[in-house]
Symmetry: C2
Subunit: 222 residues, 2 copies
DNA sequence: CTTCAATGTTAGTCTTGCCGAACTTGGGTG
DNA sequence: CACCCAAGTTCGGCAAGACTAACATTGAAG
């Protein structure tokens, strides 16, 4: 099941489709896919058709997009590569967690299976990347924790941060500054629905922190 | 002078043209370039023309190929990337010296300037790669030792291996087996011109070893 | 000085990935 | 229930990189 016969672009599409449903239920649309791939919808639509012709996904015109088992296997392989590389860059080359995503986005297509195996070995077979995302094991099983976004969490008791989206490096630096990282514990003080603000307190601190929707959507807790 | 605006293929052409004259004087031809790029001569010829149009090399039809200062700067950058990556794979990820070339050939186009700098730092600014090839420093100066191929060396006194071509992994494994690696010392017993055999003795061993032209062309000594 | 084979170039075609423009579809809204 | 608009699709075109086939040049041998 090597990934090598697919183009970089095909690998990215599959990975994106797979990750879109990793933390939320709503299936991905052509427009969102195009935005994430930084291409026009017409391009994404074309590409979807080609992937369908290769048997990697199921898609009827104007219908939903769903990976086949073959497509899913490729996607999981790419996710594994991406997250192992991010972890490697932090642990071995001293990168910050806000610097690794773009680097990994390119490297994931370039490293061999051999190199991925050596990195995995060198890191002691990690199960989570620097943002708390689970690293699927070599046999392709993801470990999916049951987590919800901070903005949807009830203000009761202490929760643990399990995952922070790596989409915005500047936001990651802000989170570092205030001590909001995977495994941090915090208490949700208040959810203000129409102000779209979530007030939290990090355990061990007294200070209340107000988070807007961008931040409270990016943080997942249990 | 970042290399990023060039295609992978352009980067490889420039690197190949540069390295062709690193250890020998004869300028590279279109046919040889095509072979090394694993491409047809017509493709190589086309590519040369495009690089000429970009001002990266000088070339009149049917004439010689020569890099401009701009082309040379890009080439040196690629050589630096390639050799730092090979060294990194050996030192940090436990690769054998026969395994690194193909991996580096792909990675060199994918890693960022930042990653190259961190690798260089992590390795303590090495000056030679696992095959003895000099690593140009970040400012682009290559360190060129005055070495000659084993097949052209006179059979007098002890010489030191400075460089072994990494073109053939199987040959590298053979060299490992017999203990012929960069910095090894050896004595040339005899050159048999028309048999194309070079007989050597590695210092510390008594056994004579006969090397054919493939091997004695790949090893450079001082 | 001619010839010719090796070397190099040009022309035409494919594939991939992208675009913009124009068209189709289908789920609300009035 | 008809309409409309956002979402999705199709189409033609372009650039890069590869190929084959045909053509051009060079220089070495006779
Ligand atoms: Mn990432
Ligand atoms: Mn990617
Ligand atoms: Mn190499
Ligand atoms: Mn390369």
């Amino acid at each position: 099941m090597p990934v090598s016969d697919l183009t970089n672009s095909a690998q990215d599409y599959l990975k994106l489709i797979w990750t879109a449903t990793e933390w939320s239920e709503t299936p991905i649309t052509v427009t969102v896919l195009a935005e994430r791939m930084r291409v026009r919808p017409s391009t994404a639509s074309d590409s979807i058709k080609k992937l369908k012709d290769q048997g990697l996904l199921i898609h009827a015109p104007y219908g939903t997009i769903e990976l086949t088992p073959a497509g899913s296997a490729h996607a999981v392989d790419m996710v594994r590569r991406h997250r192992l590389l991010e972890t490697f860059l932090v642990q071995v080359l001293g990168y910050g967690w806000d610097e690794v995503h773009d680097e990994a986005e390119v490297l994931e297509h370039a490293v061999s299976d051999t190199m991925i195996e050596r990195i995995d070995q060198r890191l002691g077979r990690p199960t989570r990347d620097p943002h708390g995302d689970p690293i699927p094991s070599a046999d392709g099983q993801p470990h999916r924790p049951g987590a919800i976004q901070l903005c949807h969490a009830e203000p009761e008791g202490e929760v643990t941060v399990v995952r922070i989206s790596d989409a915005d490096p500047a936001m990651l630096r802000y989170f570092s500054d205030i001590g909001l990282t995977p495994d941090a514990k915090l208490t949700i003080q208040k959810q203000r629905p129409y102000t779209d603000t979530t007030t939290i307190t990090l355990s061990g601190q007294q200070k209340n922190i107000d988070l807007g929707p961008t931040a409270s959507n990016a943080v997942w807790v249990t």
